[in-house]
């Protein structure tokens, strides 16, 4: 039986070398399964749960940055922690700050801030010669107007031609949260004033995909490529042969990114755009657990826990043998393709769940997490918001996977 702790201390005094930042049953379960003790640093409201299940933890309010922040380091240090793993966007700079102290490398903190400020992140990539679109920090609607105008002027658009879109997004929010596409004046007017400042950037053409890289000693130990069928709605793992064909170029771009950001140990989840001729452009990068059920899909396709891989990669003392044991060969080591479709109701009022029998009886169908709606009203959402449930598929043929994801993306699961 794996042990989460070697002592019989209380959940508030147990020792462990690994700190998990953020509440994640998946991450804790992965550590538990592999017999690796951990201390979970969680918001105080999770305390009773941790006590009830005798899980080592340290309560901490991540939203408060103040002069007491160093206390967290002291408390963890006292309990034997040697490195921290960020699970959520909001915990990335905390792990940077903690690891800077644990590893006596102050720059680790500054580096973590790169992930939390999308403008700084882009500038860093640009300085290092990665291909990026044009971008600006915008303070108000006028700035957005000017930016839209300048981008389209540079594209030599005639006045009567429709504008090429630009994108605005918050500097520090996970994935698609707060992301808006701007084509017209009206789109600009819809941006609430209190959301500024924002990052504005030109539209990157090409196929969008993400990478999940487990990095140790500055080297990629495992690289997954996730193919997006539709951003925020559907994706699958491993990518199709058409995308995997570009793997050498993608690896090259990933290595440049790692060098540019000076990443030694940890996990990276960047988004890239690739043009028909194999030109890889940088979108953005995160250093926490990715959305879109990507970790679930990795586990289903490759059979290893990406949460645990993230912990191993974050631990400066992990031996190569541990990686060799955990990671299979990319693509060829996968059992098949694992995909998912995230469902958002498209109506204001929903009454019932319509799960087509044809989908349920498809041999690619594995499970779904959609429930009969209790209340009919759909909460309005910003960006992609939270989806209502997910359909998980698994099969051998990536073409069929893509077709199914596309077809059921059209279906109204809630009517």
């Amino acid at each position: 039986m794996p042990q989460t702790t070697t002592t019989t201390d209380s959940p508030r005094t147990m020792h462990a070398r690994t700190a998990l930042l953020g509440w994640s049953l998946e991450a804790m379960e992965a550590c538990h399964k592999h017999g690796r003790p951990f201390i979970a640093v969680v918001p105080p409201e999770f305390g009773p749960y941790m006590e009830e299940h005798k899980l080592a933890y340290e309560p901490w309010d991540f939203s408060k940055l103040n002069e007491r922040s160093t206390e967290l380091y002291e408390r963890l240090e006292e309990r034997g922690v040697q490195f921290a793993v960020p699970l959520y966007e909001e915990t990335v700079e905390w792990s940077g700050a903690l690891n800077a102290r644990f590893q006596s490398n102050p720059r680790l903190f500054n580096r973590s801030l790169l992930f939390r400020d999308k403008a700084m992140m882009k500038r860093k990539a640009q300085i290092h010669g990665l291909k990026v679109g044009v971008f600006e920090e915008v303070e108000n609607k006028d700035d957005v107007r000017k930016f839209l105008k300048r981008v389209n002027a540079a594209l030599l658009k005639l006045d009567e031609e429709p504008s090429d879109p630009v994108h605005v997004k918050p500097f520090a929010a996970a994935g698609t949260v707060g992301h808006r596409v701007i084509r017209t004046e009206a789109d600009i007017d819809k941006i609430p004033d209190d959301q500024f400042p924002l990052l504005a950037e030109s539209n990157l053409a090409g196929q969008e995909f993400s990478c999940e890289a487990f990095v140790h000693g500055g080297k990629i130990k495992f690289l997954n490529i996730t193919e997006y069928v539709r951003l925020g709605h559907s994706n699958f793992i491993p990518a199709s042969p058409e995308l995997e064909e570009y793997r050498p170029k993608i690896v090259e771009a990933m290595e440049e990114l790692i060098e540019a950001f000076g990443v030694e140990n940890g996990f990276l989840h960047p988004e890239w755009f690739i043009s028909k001729n194999g030109n890889v452009k940088f979108g953005e990068v995160a250093a926490r657990v990715p959305g879109g059920h990507i970790f679930d899909l990795i586990e289903r396709a490759y059979g290893f826990s990406a949460y645990y891989a993230m912990v191993l990669a974050s631990d400066p003392d992990t031996e190569q043998a541990a990686f060799d044991e955990l990671f299979p060969q990319p693509v060829t080591g996968a059992e098949g393709h694992a995909g998912c479709l995230m469902i958002y109701p498209r109506k204001q009022k929903i009454e019932k769940l319509d799960m087509p029998d044809e989908l349920k009886n498809d041999d690619y169908f594995e499970r779904h997490t959609l429930f009969e709606p209790a209340a009919g009203k759909v909460a309005s959402r910003e960006g992609f918001g939270n989806h209502y449930g997910t359909v998980f598929l698994f099969g051998q043929d990536p073409e069929r996977m893509r077709t199914l994801l596309k077809r059921y993306e059209e279906h109204d699961f809630y009517v």
Partner: protein
């Protein structure tokens, strides 16, 4: 004719696809089983999803039942309301199933687990086979309608409710519980409801009809059950076979006098024994009004006072029977008997008020609501329905109930006025039915209900008697508005609202255990001491309660955990036949039998209760009290109340609802001994 749908599972074909679902279910159950305790919630969703699909298939219940012994240990219920089998509450089962979707699935899995416990296929160290069996009997007895499958009646269900699956569940349970015991339990249930003489009898009539059709229920061999079945279908020699009111009407005409006398006697006996009337009884009453109205005294089984009252009010009684006693309103016969025995018809205000309702011009919206209370369209008018309903409320003030509505205040008001201000109640009914308004003067302001917003129950559940349906929306709005007006005052609002709403029958003194501003229990011992000195006959100089006292109770679960506030009226304080001093009170929530934990169980019969009263030993009642009124001129010797009595009440309070509140030490006392 209702039949239990038959599906012999042993011969049933399983639907294609079930095997595949079961494979997935077994896999998911194993994953859940092996997951560490803290991570179980991750795997429960999958179980719930697949189980919902399985339940929708023929043979699904049986397949899940085979796996039920594994559920609890695997962790299907961990972290949810079904986790602890000792805390499951039978009255909640029906509503949870009817909510449909996930609720129905989890409830079904939980009940299958109880079947596994009851049949000894698994043990959990907490619930014995006997306890699990009793639980199954209880939930089945409460949900006979679900057992018999989709009914034509409009039931309140969620959009995803699967009536077929619910029916399968209870049929499955039925195969596992001894049916004779189940029937016995349902009959006891019916008995205990009837002994409280509710004025709204739809639910209990439905139960009687359903239990009679349970396999193994033989009304002819079971006198207790047979008595109730006959009470509503035909309790006399002739009515037993002549069920149709029209045929019975013909049969009466040809009866010779001895036969008629026998019918009269048997109807009366059944009505007085069960509180339930049969449709033919109404036909008989109408016949007697045409031939010899004085014989109603025998047909209603009146006591001496009732006979005298009938004698003195023959015309009015005859008029009321012609208007209000029809086959569909036959239940009003019991109300009529009681109204005569209360001597109410001799009061000019009551006689006038009832006569006014007969030709009152009723508003269209009220008319619609009134006509909808009938079982069938039989040509009765809204006025007839309203008069019938009014007779019942006046005859049985303690039979009023709030139904499935949070309107205990309004129900309590109707009950109190029926007892002590019947003329006023008739006035309110007339205004509400004709003008769509109830007016009350509150602290110098005239408040009109039609100028106010909806109260606590904007959508009244229609399972209510006609008077409540007419009055409660107005009373609810008025109560809500009064509470808003006093919301900023520093004492419990009921101090002002109770006399404002119910009138001057509420005494001016008021005491509350909970300080409103600080939400702490303050001066609790003074509170208890004053209650004893004002209400306990040993210490209050013998001042009996004249009017019911509208008091506030803290309702607790069987574990003694605070559930919420509830309005009841304290009717009287008196020794029961064994000499134990008891508080007798009216509980408007239709269910006088409650278990509030700490062995505090309210009783409705056998301890000197009158019809409709609940009772508790005096100190137990005191321990759940948080607010009461008293007459400042009728307080006895507070110092004479023994310390140990107060300590016992305080202990019961502190160890139950008191755990939810901070307690301030009494300012003039040292910390209570033994308590912190």
């Amino acid at each position: 004719m209702i039949r239990v749908p038959t599906d012999d599972l042993s011969t049933q074909q399983t639907t294609p696809g079930l095997d595949d679902l079961l494979r997935r279910f077994d896999h998911a159950l194993e994953e859940l089983q092996t997951a560490p305790g803290f991570a179980k919630p991750r795997y429960q969703t999958e179980i719930q999803q697949i189980a919902t699909d399985i339940l929708g298939m023929s043979g699904g219940i049986k397949a899940l039942d085979e796996r039920a012994p594994l559920f609890e240990e695997a962790g299907v219920f961990v972290g949810g309301p079904w986790e602890d089998t000792t805390r499951l509450s039978p009255p909640l089962v029906g509503g949870t199933l009817k909510a449909g979707g996930l609720s129905q699935t989890m409830e079904t899995l939980s009940d299958l687990r109880m079947v596994a416990l009851a049949t000894g296929r698994v043990t959990n160290g907490k619930t014995t086979t006997e306890e699990a069996m009793a639980y199954l009997e209880k939930i089945t007895s409460l949900n006979l309608a679900l057992l018999f499958g989709p009914s034509t009646e409009a039931e309140r269900t969620g959009p995803a409710f699967d009536a077929q699956a619910a029916s399968s569940l209870f049929r499955h349970i039925l195969r596992n519980v001894p049916v004779e015991r189940l029937v016995q339990r349902v009959v006891n249930e019916i008995e205990e409801i009837c002994v409280q003489r509710p004025i709204w009898t739809h639910q209990v009539r439905k139960m009687i009809r359903l239990v009679a059709h349970l396999p193994g229920a033989e009304p002819s061999d079971d006198p207790a059950l047979g008595r109730f079945v006959e009470a509503i279908t035909g309790p006399t020699k002739v009515s037993r076979t002549v069920r149709d009111p029209l045929d019975y009407r013909k049969a009466i005409k040809d009866m010779h006098s001895a036969q008629l006398a026998r019918e009269i006697e048997d109807f009366a006996a059944s009505l007085r024994a069960t509180g339930l009337a049969a449709e033919q009884h109404a036909v008989l009453a109408r016949h007697l009004v045409r031939t010899d109205v004085t014989r109603l005294a025998d047909a209603l089984g009146l006591d001496d006072r009732g006979r005298a009252e009938l004698e003195a009010n023959q015309d009015l009684t005859a008029e009321l029977v012609r208007v209000a006693i029809h086959p569909t309103t036959c239940q009003t016969l019991y109300g009529l008997a009681r109204i005569l025995e209360r001597g109410l018809l001799s009061r000019p205000a009551v006689a006038g008020g009832l006569r006014r309702l007969i030709d009152l011009s009723i508003r269209a919206d009220v008319r619609k609501v009134l006509l909808a209370t009938r079982d069938r369209d039989d040509g009765t008018t809204a006025n007839e329905v309203l008069v019938a309903g009014t007779i019942r409320v006046l005859g049985q003030p303690l039979g009023v109930g709030q139904g499935n509505n949070p309107t205990c205040q309004a129900a309590r008001g109707i009950s109190m006025w029926s007892q002590h201000r019947p003329g006023y109640l008739l006035e309110l009914i007339a205004r509400a039915a004709r003008d769509g308004v109830v007016e009350v003067a509150f602290e110098g302001d005239l408040m009109r209900s039609d100028e106010l917003g909806p109260g606590l129950a904007p959508h009244l559940d229609p399972e209510l008697d006609p008077v409540s349906l007419t009055l409660v929306p107005h009373l609810d709005s008025l109560y809500d508005e009064m509470m808003k007006r006093v919301a900023m005052r520093t004492d419990d609002g009921h101090r002002w609202v109770n006399p404002g709403l119910y009138g001057r029958i509420v005494p001016s003194g008021f005491s509350s255990a909970i300080d409103k501003v600080t939400a702490t229990v303050t001066n609790y011992r003074d509170f208890v001491r004053l209650f004893y000195a004002s209400h306990h006959p040993h210490y209050n100089d013998g001042h009996a309660l004249i009017y019911p006292n509208p008091v506030g109770l803290l309702i607790t679960t069987t574990q003694g955990v605070l559930l919420g506030f509830h309005a009841v009226s304290l009717q009287r304080v008196a020794p029961d036949p064994t000499g134990t001093l008891r508080a007798y009170f009216f509980n408007p929530n239709n269910e006088g039998r409650q278990d509030w934990g700490q062995k505090i169980r309210t009783s409705v019969t056998g301890h000197g209760e009158q019809e409709g009263e609940s009772s508790l030993p005096f100190h137990q009642f005191a321990s759940r009290l948080y607010a009461y009124h008293y007459d400042p001129y009728e307080v006895g010797d507070t110092y004479a109340v023994p310390e140990h009595s107060i300590e016992e009440v305080e202990r019961l309070a502190r160890e139950s609802w008191g755990r939810k509140y901070p307690w301030l030490p009494d300012p003039n006392a040292a910390a209570p001994p033994g308590l912190v």
